[in-house]
């Protein structure tokens, strides 16, 4: 395990380097001059002169060659300085830090909701395979996985905020305001996890040791909870790590629609205004989080499943 951990950790910096370089290059390949956009934003309705644009380009360091810009950014990032926003002129790291709490709350709530629903429904669906519950669950999973999050988000707002007036449509600061965005964000991973658990449970329930347990006189419920569930949930560990990436990317849309002041909303605003330092900081920050989450999930899976350790040892 120790050697495995070292190997994985050793690869992380390389992956981060590739991700940050790729995102930096892609950002700068996108059409649009940040200097011109910033000037238009400072003086809406007015068209900035070429001289003013050139001056701001020089001030922001955008007139330097792209590799030089990247090296300067990377050297700053390594010392914790991710630059300053072109728009607000505030440190990017501070903005990311301040926006992290709302996003963590939202993604944690969405993940918890996804697990709370997906686990029991997936188990029930497998136990009642071919029945009405299974059919409804599979249909719901299909809709949840296929429907775009923005459509679900607007649907939830229209139903629960506009029509029923049960919940606020947007905002941040009270408990009720997290409910709709958390549901909107959770539906896709919930659907995926439910299908995963159902498939895994079906496979486990057909195995010999389950039949043996039943033959020994254990109740159906005792077999499921005491013998099948633990093994059936193993794939969930890996899927949770992957889903964290999905949740963070889904948060970009959901946070924008619900005006949730997290990283996703920051990212959308920054992308629209070509606020490169913020976008670059966001991409790198999220990459670190996702890579570490996947590493943690892999480690947990190896600890939980002895077969993975043995396979490795045989190699």
């Amino acid at each position: 395990m120790g050697a495995y951990l070292v190997r994985r950790l050793a690869i992380l910096p390389l992956m981060l380097l590739v991700i940050s370089a790729a995102s930096f290059a892609l950002l700068n390949l996108a059409p649009g001059d940040p200097a011109e956009i910033v000037l238009r934003q400072r003086n809406p309705g007015q068209m900035p002169s070429p001289a003013a644009v050139s001056a701001l380009r020089a001030e922001l360091g955008l007139d330097a060659p792209l590799p030089a810009q990247y090296v300067r950014w990377m050297s700053g990032a390594l010392s914790g300085d991710m630059g300053r926003s072109y728009v607000t002129e505030r440190p990017v790291a501070a903005q990311l830090a301040r926006r992290t709490v709302p996003t963590v709350l939202l993604t944690a709530a969405a993940l918890a909701l996804a697990l709370l629903v997906a686990v029991p429904v997936g188990i029930l669906s497998a136990q009642r395979r071919g029945g009405a519950v299974d059919a409804i669950a599979r249909l719901a999973a299909l809709v949840g996985a296929a429907a775009p999050s923005y459509a679900l988000a607007f649907g939830l707002i229209i139903l629960f905020a506009v029509k029923l007036s049960w919940l606020p449509a947007l905002g941040y600061g009270s408990g009720s305001q997290i409910v709709l965005p958390a549901i909107a964000l959770s539906l896709a991973p919930m659907a995926q996890l439910m299908r995963l658990i159902r498939a895994s449970m079906l496979e486990i329930l057909g195995q010999d040791y389950i039949r043996t347990a039943r033959a020994k006189g254990l109740s159906r419920q005792a077999v499921v909870v005491g013998h099948a569930l633990r093994n059936a949930l193993l794939p969930v560990i890996g899927a949770t790590g992957v889903n964290l990436g999905y949740l963070l990317s889904g948060a970009v849309i959901v946070e924008t629609i619900f005006t949730w002041p997290g990283l996703g909303q920051l990212m959308v605003g920054a992308a629209l205004t070509r606020d490169y330092p913020v976008v670059q900081g966001f991409v790198t920050y999220v990459a670190v989080v996702v890579l570490l989450a996947n590493l943690a999930a892999d480690i947990a899976l190896r600890m939980a499943d002895p077969r993975l350790r043995y396979e490795r040892e045989e190699v």
């Binding site: 607000t88 905020a161 606020p168 009720s176």
Partner: protein
């Protein structure tokens, strides 16, 4: 060990997340600390009240100051610019916090006194401006001639763009409430130039003393609302200025929430989370008007234009016959009805709206596909291979229609025009990318959305699109289509030292006739500012521009 771990993963983790969810729901998510606000401010969060209690928050920002008056919740598009006017000034102007010496009239879009009472041009290079006597900054200091002089000097010192626009040489105090402004060259529209949000009057000494990033502490503005907390791109809180010179606002304050997504803004109003939604879409207006308890409002004057730049350098449209044919082939009026239906905009025959300048008899090429076909035939185009696309010398007649997605009307316009051009044999490719692509040569028509009533001067607003200043100088900056403005320069030069607005309108009409005749731009619609408003909102008079959203009259019925 593995069993224990599996149990941890299978039971404890979901339980922990469930606990987290329950905590979040039960206790509420903690508020993030604002980035740039003083800790001593009366911090108020974004709207939290239940839909039924909208706008009547139980906890106003400063109970001692605001009594039982309600707080109005507003959903705005962006809260981007800093509050200090010299750093832009738009947000402070829009939210009723800052004021200028002059403002644009809601009726005719001409400059009218605001913190000033009158302006007289005493010679081509000098203006005498008289000030109101009853104005105080939010910090209690009086706004007198000395303060206004200091404010204008600060603007010139800290805002190079404003310094260039204003051309101010000196500001001197004539008496307690009168200043004399001299300019380096004639500025016949100085009152109009002083409507720019960047020239809002501030207590310069207090603003400078507060230091960078602490402008909110200075109390340096004069408007009916005092900013108390500002988190750029998120929210802006204010309390009423009870000493406001125009009268005490009926509100305790206004909470502005940045809701960039138009659909979300409209739904927030429909859900009762906000009382006013700024700038809603035509579809949103329809939905809001069909729902009890709310309605849409507009001043009914289009102060922005959606149009196409014409690229005169790319070859295809540099041929006047082809350009004329394109102008005849696109039914701009039908497209205007599509993108700015009744109540949200009007057809733009000319670049500038009639409210700014009316030019009877001046027209642009109208929709006439037969005439378009004739012109293309005269230009030597024919469908030689029968594929429906005209060609010449083996080259098909193709154009690129560019635009950007942030203004939802532009992609619709482009697709409608594409379909119309096919009807006369022109193949059009739509490329919706990004607005600064207008600087690149890869387009023939480029969709654009912009203010056309800046400073209230029609000459300025027609000149700027042709890359010339209102005094006819300029080197082609912002002439994105590389339009040959030589005919226009002579006309605009006549405005040189004229301060009479009617004479300037006559000159603007002459200029508009030239650009319409040469199809220098293809205007489509003048777009209104449309607001979604709860029926409980009182005293709200929408201004046609996006310069002023709220004043001291707006209130909220309990």
């Amino acid at each position: 060990m593995p069993n224990l771990l599996i149990q941890s993963i299978t039971y404890i983790i979901p339980a922990a997340f469930a606990l987290l969810l329950a905590l979040a729901v039960a206790c509420g998510a903690p508020a993030a600390a604002p980035e740039n606000t003083p800790t001593s401010t009366a911090a108020t969060m974004v709207p939290q009240q239940s839909p039924q209690a909208t706008g009547t928050s139980e906890q106003p920002a400063d109970p001692a100051n605001v009594g039982e008056r309600p707080i109005l919740n507003a959903g705005v598009i962006w809260l981007d610019s800093p509050l200090d006017p010299v750093e832009s000034g738009w947000v402070a102007n829009q939210s009723g916090m800052s004021e200028n010496l002059f403002r644009l009239s809601a009726a005719n879009l001409s400059p009218e006194p605001w913190l000033a009472t009158a302006a007289v041009q005493i010679d081509p290079l000098a203006w005498e401006i008289t000030l109101r006597t009853d104005v105080r900054f939010h910090n209690g200091n009086a706004m007198d001639a000395q303060a206004v002089k200091a404010s204008l000097e600060r603007t010139i010192r800290l805002s190079p763009a404003s310094a260039e626009n204003l051309g101010i040489d000196t500001v001197s105090v004539k008496d307690g409430q009168t200043i004399t402004v001299t300019t380096t060259d004639p500025r016949p529209t100085l009152p109009g130039l002083l409507t720019s949000p960047a020239t809002a009057i501030t207590d310069a000494a207090a603003a400078d003393a507060a230091g960078e990033g602490n402008f909110i502490d200075a109390g340096a503005l004069t408007g009916p609302y005092i900013p108390t907390e500002y988190v750029q791109k998120e929210r802006l809180s204010s309390v009423a200025n009870d000493d406001y010179w125009g009268g005490t606002p009926p509100l305790a304050g206004i909470e502005h929430l940045a809701i960039p997504d138009t659909n979300s803004r409209e739904l927030a109003l429909q859900a009762g989370d906000i009382d006013v939604a700024i700038n809603i879409s035509p579809n949103g207006a329809q939905a809001i008007n069909s729902q009890p308890g709310m309605h849409s409002l507009t001043a009914g004057i289009g102060t922005s234009v959606v149009m196409w730049w014409v690229n005169f350098e790319r070859g295809t449209l540099s041929d006047p016959l082809v350009l004329r044919a394109v102008a005849h082939a696109i039914d701009r009026k039908s497209i205007a009805d599509l993108v700015a239906p009744e109540g949200t905009g009007s057809f733009a025959e000319l670049l500038l709206p009639e409210a700014l300048v009316s030019c009877p008899g001046v027209t642009a090429p109208g929709y006439d596909p037969d005439q378009a076909r004739n012109l293309l035939a005269q230009a030597g185009y024919a469908d030689s291979n029968g594929d429906g696309v005209l060609d010449k010398d083996g080259q098909p007649l193709e154009i690129v229609i560019g635009g950007y997605p942030e203004r939802f009307r532009l992609p619709i316009m482009a697709e409608a025009a594409q379909a119309m051009l096919v009807g006369v044999g022109i193949q059009a490719e739509v490329r919706i990318t990004e607005w600064t692509v207008v600087n690149e040569p890869e387009w023939d028509l480029f969709g654009w959305f912009n203010n056309v009533v800046e400073t209230g001067d029609p000459v300025v607003n027609v000149s700027k699109y042709a890359g010339i200043r209102a005094d006819a100088s300029g080197s082609g900056a912002n002439n994105y289509g590389h339009y040959d403005n030589s005919r226009l320069v002579d006309i605009v030069a006549r405005a040189g030292n004229l301060s009479d607005i009617e004479q300037r309108k006559g000159i603007a009409c002459d200029a508009l006739a030239v650009v319409a005749d040469e199809s220098a731009f293809l205007p489509v619609a003048h777009v209104y500012m449309v607001y979604g408003v709860s029926d409980r909102v009182t005293g709200f008079e929408p201004h046609p521009t996006s310069l002023y959203f709220f004043d001291h009259r707006i209130g909220l019925a309990q």
